[in-house]
Amino acid sequence: MDKVTPDRAADVEGCPSGLQDTPIRETDPFGADLALDDFVTVKNDLASIDLIVQGAHCGGCLAKIERGIGELNGVRTVRMNLSTMRLHVEWTQSALSVQAIVQCLSDLGYGAAPYEINVAQSQSETDLRRLLKAVAVAGFAATNVMLLSIAVWSGGGEMTESTRTAFHWISALIALPAVTYAGQPFFRSAWGALKNRQTNMDVPISLAVLLACGLSLYETVNGNPDTYFDAAVMLLFLLLIGRYLDAKLRHKTGEAAQRLAAMQSTSATRILPDGRLETIPTRRVSPGDTLLIPAGQRIPVDAEIISGSSEIDTQLATGETLPVLKNPSDIIYSGMVNLTNPLTVTAISAETDSFLAEISNLVQAGEQSKSRFVKIADKAAQAYVPIVHTLAIATFIGWLLFGAPLRQASLNAIAVLIITCPCALGLAVPAVQIVASGRLFAKGVLLKSGDALERLAEIKSVIFDKTGTLTQGKFQLDNKADISAADLQFAGALSAQSRHPIAKSLHIYAGPLTAIDVTETPGVGLTGLIDGQTVKFGARESIADNGLSTQSWLQREGKKPVMFAFSDALRPEAKSTIDRISALGLSSQILSGDTQASVEAVASILGLDHAQGGVSPKGKLEILTALNADGKLPLMVGDGLNDAPALANAHASASLATASDISRSAADIILADDSLSGLPDAIMIARHAKRRVIQNLGAAILYNFIAVPLAVFGFVNPLVAALAMSGSSMIVTLNALRPMKT
């Protein structure tokens, strides 16, 4: 998912997985004693486990993992699935422990989490396979029946009646089992809808297919000239393709969401009354437990500090760029990261009622409200189904009234049903969505669902988070030109031992020097020995916080202090992105949890009039809900935990590849190459796609205007039905594939 930026690619060989700022095992340490054993299945000394691997992206990773694990003593099978990021390992239980496997993965540079088979997801996997098989069966039947039907049509009068009937029997022999098998997805869904006294698109489809088959069988038995077997199976074939594409898009989304959920499960270190430490999964922490939070670890549950002071990175939780100093009796919240010193804390919440859980609940509520969005295809179906059925009944009664025999009346009524069968409608939307999601992918944008594309096309305004979205979310040295190379190296060497965001930005300057005896005083700075000299970095007494830039001082023994100025720089593409968005006729504004001053500084550079700082996650949510209600349908762009509820509730939402897991799973689209410039492209593609969908629906309606009167007045024979149906499906598919101007 992560793309490598060119300058970083140059210094690291191979795969992007090694490029993460903090190694995965530091943020999500799957300790040797985490309850992994619950996930291992053992059978006759043959153990197996499914793991989700974090950070594997390419063929190189695949080879590295399979080779690395394969070399472990006792491993029998190892198979990495790059599409689902799942690793399946089988090994001799007595020869190897599961912890050794996870440790090996971690040593290779990848994170791992046990894969819990989720019922809904494995159901969708089975469904997808069944659909694929149904497509194959329907395709096989369609081609073979068509072969026989073309012979009958082109044979015209020359074919003897007995040959023709034989051909019809063979067609029946192929079509009836094929329809029984391949039609099930439609029959089941139609039956489900009818049972609840509702209708959906599958009702007319099932009715048309079943009636066409029944009628054709009747005609075959009686040796009559016309059968519709070819129409029935071709209909199924075309519709199943649409259904399969749709299911595949949805399955991918579910897979991604589940992967994120699995990676979120973290561990906590509990201090037992006798002083021993034990690592437990976060879900087993209960309020009152004493926990140890080492430097560099994410805080598992909300807690009160008992001893120790440390700087806490609250960026993902609140949107503040600078770490905050926390002392005993201060409260820290789950999702923040402990930066400098180990802390001993008392848990004040369990995982299920922590800050993180509260955010997840808000996100879930948002997703539920979004599921009420009615897709274009469903709107079309609601209008379409009653009209079609009324028409068919009217045709039947009409012919009877004019004195036609029962057989002819039902023949014409069924012809109406076959010809109006929403073949083009069934393909019109998924074909466009698949093509659009392919185009988005080429622009580095991942689309999570088809209806997200429809919502993205409707947005009226864009709301940006500041930290990490418009800005890079990490500090950069601004006055590098004013600092001597030696000072830079000293600062780099000293800060190499710190996780403070400002120190991190200097890591790259470390050079060959190493600092020893480094102490980090929270809120003050770093002190250490380099080449026998005492070096201090930080000295915040002269700190000046004027919105964007932050100053720190380097003091080498016997030298004058040198000033280092840092800022959380804007993303280089931020300005052009906002300009392009306003060119699309959308207004932009900033909504951030950071201080009003720093928000306004960013807004003035970008030329935005509306900027609001100091907004809590709930506050963001309220503003978004108000905009939704006003019809100003917002697109929310954000990356932090604090943005997640807003992302889930906004009409449409986008998140970045480096965003927190929960924001990525809440967002509709993910800017996978971690650049905002895909955003205007995505909006444009969504609008084009919407136009295409409407064109396709228009084509389908136009087709019906021409074909329905023919069917009502009895001019439709099997040849006309086949031509009309495949013709209209071809038109909508080709229209979907037509290049878009972007």
């Binding site: 695949l62 699935n81 790059l82 599409s83 069966v137 096989f140 192929i174």
Partner: protein
């Protein structure tokens, strides 16, 4: 005309063979990881021949 009695079943049989092969490949998991399979072909897992 008698040719039809041979050719139609034969054509159907061939098609059916293809269908069965496809079912087998789906069940065998050959469509589970298109991304991995396309890069797997590039991994060089040949080992040099070592004389004992």
């Amino acid at each position: 005309m008698t040719a039809l009695f041979w050719l139609i079943p034969l054509a159907l049989l061939l098609g059916l063979t293809g269908l069965i092969a496809f079912f087998w490949s789906v069940r065998d998991g050959q469509f589970d990881d298109p991304k991995g399979d396309s890069s797997r072909i590039l991994t060089d897992d040949d080992h040099p021949i070592v004389d004992d």
